[in-house]
């Protein structure tokens, strides 16, 4: 959400916004950060265990073990989303489930499941990226810009 242009509001409006803000329950930032740290940390640790498991028993290399580990986390997220459990975990964990790959998988799974009633093509297919879209668009665009900059700097001998 963008920061509201305060100068466009009348004095009464500004006064009321101040009034309302004083009466808004403060978000428990510290408690939320602790919960995010613990849940996020646990998810990443679980990912690390999975990677080690795939290296030891399935002979993946250190670089490629990330892929099956990620796939397992994604499958678990879809299942938890489908059983209506993921949103309860997320209410508790906040960024602890939003920031890891679980967040990305949940945006796709929840949107796909929700829009079943509109059919599989326009509903599921058309809405799947409703919430995941920004991550992909901005990820790709920024990667493109960064890569061009890096490549140019290397060509100029700077990097």
């Amino acid at each position: 959400m963008s920061i509201k242009k305060k100068k466009e509001l009348s004095p009464t409006q500004q006064e009321y916004q101040q009034f309302a803000q004083e009466r808004e329950p403060k978000r428990p930032i510290v408690l939320n950060c602790i919960k995010a740290f613990i849940v996020g940390g646990l998810i990443c640790t679980f990912g690390q265990v999975l990677q080690m498991f795939f290296i030891k028993y399935f002979h993946f290399s250190k670089e490629s073990a990330g892929n099956p580990a990620m796939a397992v986390i994604i499958i678990i997220t879809v299942i938890l989303t489908g059983f209506g459990v993921f949103d309860h975990i997320a209410q508790f964990a906040g960024a602890g489930t939003v920031v890891p790959i679980t967040g990305f998988a949940n945006t796709i799974a929840s949107a796909a499941i929700e829009h079943r009633s509109e059919g599989y093509v326009l509903g599921v297919g058309g809405n799947m990226f409703k919430l995941a879209g920004p991550v992909i668009v901005y990820g790709v665009f920024s990667a493109f810009v960064v890569s061009l900059v890096v490549v140019s700097l290397r060509a100029l001998g700077v990097m």
């Binding site: 959400m1 509201k4 309302a20 329950p25 989303t81 997320a90 499941i113 409703k130 919430l131």
Partner: protein, 334 residues
């Protein structure tokens, strides 16, 4: 008859001869459960989609109210209904089933009192003998439309509210026994520049205060006239703001009589409820179920219900618009 600037006084006192409230699983766990005519354990009511479920809620509320009045659908001249879903589809499709001449309304969460005001106007002006008001909301259908898919994992802040899954209906008549609609103040749109859809209470409180001021000014009445003054869905956050704002404006409403349907409908410890209930259904089920029941039992004689609505759309929020709000007040006496 028009009194003051924006208030209608109903001299013939249109009577609510029957009312009904239908709710979902969350409402069944709340303190007002005994005042519901029908409670569902399945949020989809066995239908294919949440939107169809909301339509079913309205049909059940309307049919129950008509049955309680010992009448048939053909005895009702007009159906005034509304909801939160795009193009008020649940209301229109329910009207298709009921086959009563239909006036669709949109006032966001203020639709219940908008509908009751207009129904009473039809009765008072003798343009109808019986008019049925029905509004609804559905938690999953509105989350899907206004915010996020229902299984999406986002963390709601403490100021967020939980949309009520429920429908309330009231059958207003030119004769008969029951609580009577005596006056109605139509609100104007108030916008204080707030734009957080997770804090509707703060956005709507100024509209409630504006309409309350107009009501008492137009009727030259004191708040102590009423046994109960209830806002629709300000929630705990909005209720506190409204209370303080009223004091600041010099309108003295005793704390014991000022309440909010969003606070009453759920227990404080019910998870994810946060600041309280919201949605058209919130004010409708609480008023047409709980409050009217209390009036019929003789516990309340004069009440003022101020339904509050936030007039935003998912797109207006994305376009960085603020949230304009409106509130309509209806006084009901027995």
């Amino acid at each position: 008859m028009l009194t003051g600037h924006q208030t209608w006084v109903f001299e013939t006192k249109p009577t609510i001869i029957a009312s009904a409230a239908v709710g979902g699983p969350y409402e069944a766990k709340g303190p007002l459960a005994p005042d519901f005519d029908l409670l569902h354990g399945d949020i989809r009511l066995g239908q294919d989609s949440f939107e169809k479920a909301e339509q079913k809620l309205q049909e059940q509320a309307c049919e129950t109210a008509i049955k309680k009045a010992k009448l048939k659908k053909e005895d009702v001249q007009f159906l005034l209904s509304g909801d939160l879903i795009n193009q008020i589809v649940p209301s229109s499709f329910s009207a298709r089933t009921l086959a009563i001449p239909y006036l669709g309304l949109y006032g966001a969460c203020s639709t219940s009192m908008e509908g009751l005001s207009l129904a009473s106007l039809l009765i008072e002006s003798k343009f109808a003998k019986k008019a049925l008001v029905c509004v609804s909301s559905h938690n999953a259908a509105s989350e899907k439309q206004y915010r996020y898919p229902t299984e999406y994992g986002s963390q709601k802040p403490p100021s967020a509210q939980w949309t009520v899954t429920g429908s309330g209906a009231a059958l207003v008549s030119d004769k008969g026994e029951g609580p009577k609609v005596t006056a109605s103040t139509i609100g104007r749109v108030i916008d204080m520049g707030l734009s957080d859809p997770f804090n509707m209470g703060a956005a709507m409180a100024p509209a409630a205060v504006d309409t309350l001021e107009a009501h008492f000014r137009d009727l030259n009445r004191d708040p102590s006239y009423y046994d109960l003054i209830a806002t629709g869905d300000l929630g705990r956050v909005g209720h506190k703001i409204a209370g303080d704002l009223l004091k600041k404006h010099g309108l003295n409403i005793p704390e014991e009589i000022l309440t909010d349907c969003g606070i009453l409908i759920y227990n404080k410890d019910q998870p994810v409820v946060m600041s309280g209930g919201s949605g058209c259904g919130c004010c409708a089920v609480t008023t047409f179920g709980h409050f009217l029941n209390r009036m019929r039992k003789g516990e309340l004689k004069k009440i003022l219900v101020v339904a509050t609505g936030a007039l935003l759309s998912p797109m207006s929020y994305q376009q960085k618009e603020s949230i304009p709000s409106i509130a309509h007040a209806v006084s009901i006496e027995i």
